[in-house]
């Protein structure tokens, strides 16, 4: 018989010799190692950390009062003494307002995505893992939300509920639940098909334990990467809502709102009027590039 060759005599009694022990490395460690070799992602992450840290520490940085107006010092150009980035249409210090503005803008960008991540992620993983009718019910409801363009949905929800920070957060959260749910559902469905999930089911473990141990670890990565890319969209949408007067109310410093109020100054001092937009651009592109970098670092067959 073909398999009764000499190799049979190797037998099963001998221990298979191992590869050197130092080579063992966890998945997240190898992701971190790959990220360290990606300068673009590192620069983006650094910029973001700088913006976030500055926004968080704004009250302790010794900046000018962002609410203090001065009719005499309106629309100073960039590089003016005491006002490094000039002043806005009410004479408030631009540098200070841009830093303070980051607090609200970032808050409005990150919070709805986090909330949507919790709700949409839960719904999506449930739909993906249970499949069948549960999947059908959850995903068809999401499709209804999907039928509206996200900008339109955010504007109509904010418009219906009225202006204000809370309503903006709520409407943005609702906008982001369906896409996060869909991504979670598709990666979970994929993971559920692997034999190791079947093996876990065959071991008699409860569904919750299987999801916790075998599913979450494999789906959180892709979902988080996608959510990161949504933060930039959220920042732009929040700024857009503020620009339209549906978000933050004056005199709060917020990038979208600043862009709106500086609109009239565009012929007097165009560079100044563009500054909040530059901040929005830098922040959102950094979030985008970082999510791309994360995807690249995590997209490996182990």
């Amino acid at each position: 018989m073909a398999i009764q060759t000499s190799s049979l005599e190797l037998g099963s009694g001998t221990l298979v010799q191992a590869i050197p022990a130092s080579a063992s490395r966890g998945y997240w460690k190898s992701v971190a190692r790959r990220l360290r070799r990606d300068p673009v992602t590192l620069v983006c992450a650094g910029t973001l950390i700088l913006i976030v840290a500055a926004a968080l520490a704004a009250p302790w940085l010794g900046l000018a009062d962002p609410y203090k107006t001065s009719m005499l010092r309106r629309l100073y150009p960039l590089g003016s003494p005491n006002h490094i980035l000039g002043t806005d249409e009410l004479g408030r210090d631009m540098f200070s307002r841009l830093i303070y503005g980051g607090r609200l803008s970032l808050f409005m960008g990150v919070t709805p995505v986090l909330c949507a991540l919790l709700i949409g992620g839960f719904l999506g993983i449930t739909a993906g893992f249970l499949g069948g009718r549960v999947n059908m019910a959850i995903m068809r409801v999401m499709d209804v939300f999907y039928a509206f363009p996200s900008v339109l949905l955010a504007i109509s929800l904010s418009g219906a509920m009225g202006a204000g920070t809370e309503n903006t957060l709520l409407s943005l959260t609702l906008v982001f639940i369906p896409p996060i749910c869909r991504v979670s559902e598709s990666v979970t469905t994929q993971v559920r098909g692997f034999d190791f999930v079947d093996a876990a089911r065959a071991s008699g473990a409860s569904t919750l334990t299987i999801v916790r141990v075998h599913v979450l670890g494999n789906v959180l990565g892709p979902i988080l990467v996608y959510a990161t890319s949504l933060i930039s969209v959220a920042i732009i949408l929040a700024a857009g809502l503020s620009f339209l007067g549906l978000g933050v109310k004056p005199p709060e410093p917020e990038w979208g709102l600043m862009l709106n109020t500086l609109r009239q100054a565009i012929y007097v001092n165009p560079v100044l009027a563009a500054l909040p937009g530059v901040m929005i651009f830098i922040t959102s592109i950094c979030f985008n590039m970082m999510s791309d970098g994360l995807r690249a670092a995590m997209d490996v067959k182990a």
């Binding site: 018989m1 398999i3 099963s12 298979v16 034999d195 190791f196 093996a199 141990v213 075998h214």
Partner: protein, 348 residues
């Protein structure tokens, strides 16, 4: 954890696992709201028993329902119809045992050694998962992992902390076998467990399986398309074609004196090391018919060189011919097939 230690209750004569009338049909596409929907008849009216301590080989072409049988036996799939009895206890019935209790006694090794290990868990975590889910404390689970790894010939100090991608195919399959043993089952279903390995590794793993069986008093259901491997390992062999059993019997009878035309065709299609014995032409032509709409009567008749009228009209039942059971009209006296004995005499 004492409950995990197998107890032989019914005595050696009672089959460890008895499945009767198992049926699994998969609905496929089409049909609005399930109306007029077509089904793939993956397994149809399958009855088999696995004796304690034996190895039952299951062979057949790809797509004949071998893997579905494996998944039905461990209840990863719920059968549409049919009953299962584990050592005298009916499974998933009011007075019987639960599916979870069945799974403590029956475990499975999957074909794809890579897809069947969670890439995010270390080998130790993977092996400890099932015992922990059944309430074994962490310290004892670690002990169990070390024990399991050394049982399958892997050094516990070296492998418990490793990730699946750091292991070779053979090592991964050893881990899969160890995981199947983690709950100390009585029956292990090996679904193409060695098919993806290269020949020398396959031989090592097969020998390990033989040793483990002896050491732990296991019973195997060994599913494979490799006839040589099945012959080497099995006590009894079951031949499947399109979701049905066509022949079932002791390994010597099936390989030495195959009765069903399909079994004969399968065996003669085996590659031979002897050039003079190599078959010149394919013993059976074409592909198996679509299981969505299998042929009437005998399912093999569309490719059978001896097919006659009666084969299309009457479905042959699995009949005992003395040494093995065969589902073919030729073997049934008085069936109406021209090659069958007229009456009374058992065809050889």
């Amino acid at each position: 954890m004492d409950t995990l230690i197998p107890v032989d209750r019914g005595g050696p004569a009672q089959p460890l696992l008895l499945a009767s009338g198992l049926q699994k049909h998969f609905p496929v596409g089409g049909g609005i709201l399930g109306r007029g929907r077509k089904v793939v008849r993956a397994v149809d009216d399958l009855t088999l028993s696995v004796a304690k301590g034996e190895t039952l080989g299951v062979v057949g072409e790809s797509g004949c329902g071998k893997s579905t049988v494996a998944r039905l036996l461990i209840r990863l799939l719920k059968p549409d119809r049919g009953t299962m009895v584990l050592d005298g206890d009916p499974v998933d019935e009011p007075h019987g045992i639960t599916v979870n209790e069945l799974r403590r006694n029956v475990q499975m090794v999957f074909q794809d050694s890579y897809a069947s290990l969670n890439p995010r868990l270390t080998i130790g975590e993977t092996l400890a998962f099932a015992p922990k889910a059944h309430g074994l404390p962490a310290a004892q689970a670690r002990e169990r992992v070390r024990d399991l790894l050394s049982k399958v010939g892997l050094d516990p100090n070296n492998y418990a902390e490793r990730y699946p991608h750091e292991l070779s195919g053979g090592q991964r399959q050893r881990v899969n076998i160890a995981r199947a043993l983690a709950l100390r089952p009585r029956l292990v279903i090996l679904d193409e467990a060695v098919s993806a390995l290269d020949k020398s590794v396959e031989a090592q793993v097969l020998n390990m399986l033989v040793d483990l069986k002896e050491e732990l008093g296991l019973t195997y259901v060994f599913i494979s398309h490799d006839l040589n491997v099945v012959q080497y390992l099995s006590d009894r062999v079951l031949v499947m074609y399109l979701g049905k059993i066509v022949e079932l019997g002791p390994v010597e009878a099936i390989y030495g004196d195959p009765q069903h035309p399909y079994t004969r065709a399968l065996l003669s299609a085996r590659p031979s090391m002897d050039p003079r014995k190599r078959t010149k032409e394919a013993p059976i032509q074409g592909d198996p018919p679509n299981p969505i709409d299998p042929p009437s009567g005998c399912r093999f008749r569309t490719r059978c060189p001896f097919a006659e009228d009666v084969c299309g009209r009457v479905e042959p039942i699995l009949a005992d011919t003395g040494r093995q059971s065969v589902a073919c009209h030729i073997q049934v006296p008085g069936s109406g097939h021209s090659k069958a004995a007229r009456t009374g005499v058992i065809a050889a």
